[in-house]
Every structure is written in structure tokens, then in C-alpha cells.
Symmetry: D2
Subunit: 167 residues, 4 copies
């Protein structure tokens, strides 16, 4: 299933490397020695979660169905115009952002107001409908970033415990 997800994301113009770049920018200020490879690995881990996969399939389907004209009015215009009070795109993305705890919520909110990298590109590509996709990418990046925050904390605690035992 994960391979299908990666394929669908690429079809819509999203490479995992571009998501890892967002994770790096989010998490770098808090984690010294962070590498892009760790960020990419964390993105992969997020995409292994079944609930994340199902949510991505649904959001991407809604973007594509809107593009193809299969969505009835008034919903079609609401999605096409990325109406700020729509909220369903954020609900889906938050379900992803949240999988490693509430810390993912705040990154998501930050990205929503400061779109950069691939998110900015998606947001300004007016040939396609990316109403769901740009939020979903922010959700994946937020979850991957939260995962690294927890991990780095665990490593630090393990190290502190070890030093204590040695001394």
C-alpha cells in the first residue's frame, strides 16, 4: 500500500525528498546534527501508518475528482476556490499531523500560514486543484517532524541515564 501512496503523491507532483526538506526546515532549529536522510526516513515511517495512507488516498481523490468535474455544486466551487472556511482539508491533514502527539498540531498551523518549498509550488499551481494536497503535505511533514522530536528526546534521556550509571 505504501508504494501506491508514494506513486499517487508523485503523480500529483510531490516527491518525498521535497517533504523531507520541509521537515528539515521545521526541525533543524531544535535538533543539532539533523540530516536530510533522517528527515526522509521519518517521512517514510509516517507513510507506513494505515490511517495516514487512507487519509491521503481520500484527500487526493477529492482533488482529482474536482479537477475532472465529478463533484456537484456548490461543493465543487468551494474546493476549487480553496475557501478558507471549508475546513475539511484541515481536518484530514490534522488527523495526519497528530499521529505522534499534539506537538504536530502546532507545526501544522505554522506551515499553513508559512507555505514554503513544495507547499508554495502546489498552492500557486493554478492548472491543478491542490486544495487537499497542500494541507496533506503539511500534515505529513508535521508528523515526521514530531516523530524526530520524540526520538531525539529519547536519545538524550538514554544518554543521560547512561552517564548517570557510569558516574
Amino acid at each position: 500500500m505504501k508504494d501506491i501512496i508514494i506513486e499517487r503523491l508523485e503523480e500529483r507532483g510531490v516527491k518525498l525528498k521535497a517533504v523531507a526538506d520541509i521537515v528539515y526546515t521545521l526541525q533543524k532549529p531544535y535538533s543539532e546534527n539533523l540530516s536530510i536522510d533522517e528527515c526522509l526516513e521519518s517521512v517514510h515511517k509516517v507513510l507506513e501508518k494505515r490511517e495516514v495512507q487512507y487519509t491521503l488516498l481520500t484527500g487526493i481523490a477529492l482533488d482529482k475528482l474536482t479537477e475532472k468535474g465529478h463533484i456537484e455544486e456548490p461543493l465543487s466551487s468551494i474546493i476549487k476556490s480553496d475557501e478558507p472556511l471549508y475546513g475539511v482539508d484541515e481536518s484530514l491533514a490534522l488527523a495526519i499531523a497528530n499521529i505522534y502527539g499534539t506537538i504536530g498540531f502546532t507545526s501544522f498551523g505554522y506551515l499553513d500560514k508559512n507555505k514554503f518549498g513544495i507547499m508554495e509550488k502546489l498552492d500557486t499551481n493554478h492548472d491543478k486543484v491542490n486544495t487537499f494536497l497542500d494541507d496533506l503535505v503539511a500534515g505529513i511533514a508535521s508528523a515526521a517532524s514530531a516523530r524526530i522530536a520524540h526520538q531525539k528526546r529519547n536519545e538524550k534521556e538514554a544518554k543521560m541515564k547512561e552517564e548517570k550509571e557510569v558516574s
Copy 2:
């Protein structure tokens, strides 16, 4: 917009009166003197909220598009089989259940395990795809029930204050 929503719900077999019946069953144990008319009025109030309207349009669209064969695999089979770990139907419904506070969450969870009335009918109608709709109905009923709980509490507090001022 509210009229469109009511029309769409009726097209899918959901009359507001049937939703009000669920609200009545949920809320009756806590509110003496509760009438079906109050429950129906509360359902109407919930349906006036823009975010609720948008969420309903989206969920109903997904059910209908699945019925029509417009959703690609593997998502189509997941929605058709109402896969218990899918989660997107619950996410949308919870965004509705939650509009009058966390109290709506618990009613939703209860309804999800104890489907009755119109919910049971939707769940066992195998000609149609109602994966989203049965959860959305539970979401509306939970929100309408939470609204009544808050209202009854306000009335009680106002009365207590009045009695205190008189004495």
C-alpha cells in the same frame, strides 16, 4: 445553503425528524420535559453552521461517488466495505459532533457502537453506500444533543440566580 443540505440528506433517505428521534433518545435521560420539537429545533441549529454544511456535502459526495464507481481502487473497496480502520468517516463526523464542545465526542462514540433508528437502517441498506452518512448522522445528533445539554444547564443557572436574588 441549509436548504440544499436538507434536500441532500432527504435524497439519501435521512429525514430531520429521524435525526431528532436519536437526539431525543440520547438526551432524554438527562433532561426532563424534553420534547421532540426541541430536538428538531436543535438539529436545525446544527445544520446552520457553515463548517457542518461543508462537512456534510463532502461526506455525502464521497458516498455517492463510490456508488457511481468514480473512486479509484484501493479506496473504492475500502469505502464500500466500511473498513473499520478507515477513520476518515469518523474524522469528518467528529468535526461535527464537536461543535458544541467535547461532550459531543462521547455521544458520538456511544452511537457508533449502538446504532439505532435511522442509523441502523442506513447501516443495513446494502443497495447504497452509506459509509459516511451513518457517521455524519451520528455527528449531527451528537452536536444537537450537546447543544441541548448546554442550554438546559444555562436555564438552570439562570433560575438558580433568580431564586437567589428573590430570597
Copy 3:
């Protein structure tokens, strides 16, 4: 840290075995061959999550501080009376219930309306303040149950894949 949490739960009258019993009741209808030991192991896994630990420490502290009279009015009376519209106890418990996806929300709502086993005992022990604790126990049980649901699903998929490869 996990040991501290287990100790605090036991001090408040909650043995992990009693939580595992709730998980078993929740999950048994969906998972044949489920054992109490698997449920207990799942409870342990939930308690290893840092965000769960922090939430439990906070909720238990609020119960104890209310008992000791350290909480100012009007909050003290609201917590003591387990006011149904309070909502903070549910918010904390839902943050736990949710760690393995939205499926945990529905179990939580069900338990909130159908308190049994240790939850019923906590709810009717009027010497102590357990406003937070009974919801937190429901949150742990819901998360542990969601974890098993995901796991059983993974096993089933792995088996299906294997059978496909053999044939």
C-alpha cells in the same frame, strides 16, 4: 518514568490487570483468539508513550489536589461533582485514546456511557475524587484496544499476502 506511572495508578486503586480486562471486553468481539496477556501487553505499550505519561501525571495530580483542598473555587466544586459539561477530563482522556488513530475515539465514547469493571468502581467510590482517573482509564483502554485492532489487521494482511505468494 513508566514505573512511576504504574505506581501512581496503583496508589489510586488502578491495577493494569483491571485495565486489560476492559480492553479484552472491548476487543473480544472483533478479535478471535484474543488473550488477556495480549491486552495487558498492549496496555504496557500505551504507557510507554511519553505524551500518555505526561497526561496521566497531570490528570491524577488534579484529582489529588482537589481531594487535598488545594484547588480554588469554583473549580474545586466543578471537579468534585464531576460536572458533565466540564470537558477537561474528557479532553485529556481523548488525547490518550487517540494515539493509535480515530478508532480509539469511538471506544472512549462507548466506555464513557457504559462504565464497567474498574471504571464503575472508581465512579462510585465517593471517598475519593476520581473525576479525571475514570476517564483516563477509559482513554488507556481505548488506545490499547485500537492498537490491537491495527495489529490484528496487519497480521491478517501479512497472511493474505503470504497465501497469495504460495499459490
Copy 4:
């Protein structure tokens, strides 16, 4: 009850005017003709919600009890150090931010990373414990801002409908 809340906020150094200033900064880019008075009125409306009141009382109590040394270790150190993975402060604040829909979530995330005005002051006042308070203020401001967004949209729609009827 609302008066008690306003009093408690002021005791902790938070004037409603300062919260209204944050709302203004958040919402000004989207709403022309926005006045500080409208923002202040929106903050008042948020504080009238019972669930908001209860959440504020709880968070402020936790800050004060930590200051007074009534919270046991290890929780006391976690709250004092505003440990980034704690999460309970964000959970409470998000329950407030969310009362006018998911749109409040994104403002909250933005404020969490861009503390300004009264939030910055709270965050850098090291004589006091404001771990909960700075997030709660962000939650109130986010909800008040979401309320204005919905309201402005309603006004616009009413105007469009009127113009349509005239022509």
C-alpha cells in the same frame, strides 16, 4: 462566571485588550475595516462559553499550583521548564481554539511559533510559571479570530444575496 475568569486573567497579567491586540494582528490581513473594538467584543464572546471558562480555570490553576510548589515531581519540573513534548498545555488551548471550527487550529499553531505582544511577555517572565497561560491566551485569540472570520463571511454572503434580489 465570566467576571471571575476576567479577574483571574488580570491577576496573571493578562488584560483582554492585550488579547484583542493579538486578534487584530491575526485577522487584519483578511478583514478590511476591522476595528480593535470588534476584536475585543469577539474575545468577550469566547469567554462566555462555559467550556472555555472551565478550561481556563484549570490551566491557570495548574500554573499557580506549580508556582506554589503543590505539584509533585516529576510533573513539577516538566511544567516549570515548559517541556516542549508536554502537550497538555496545547491540548487545553486547542479545545478553546477549536470552538468556532478547525480554522482556529491553524491560528493557534501560528501563534505558538510566533509569540508576540502579551504572549511574548508571558513567555519571558521567569518569576512566574506561565506554561499554560501563554497557550491559553493563544487559544482565546485564535477562537476570537475564527469567530470574526465566520461573521465577516456571513455579512458578505448576506450582502451578495441582497444585491442579487435588488437587481
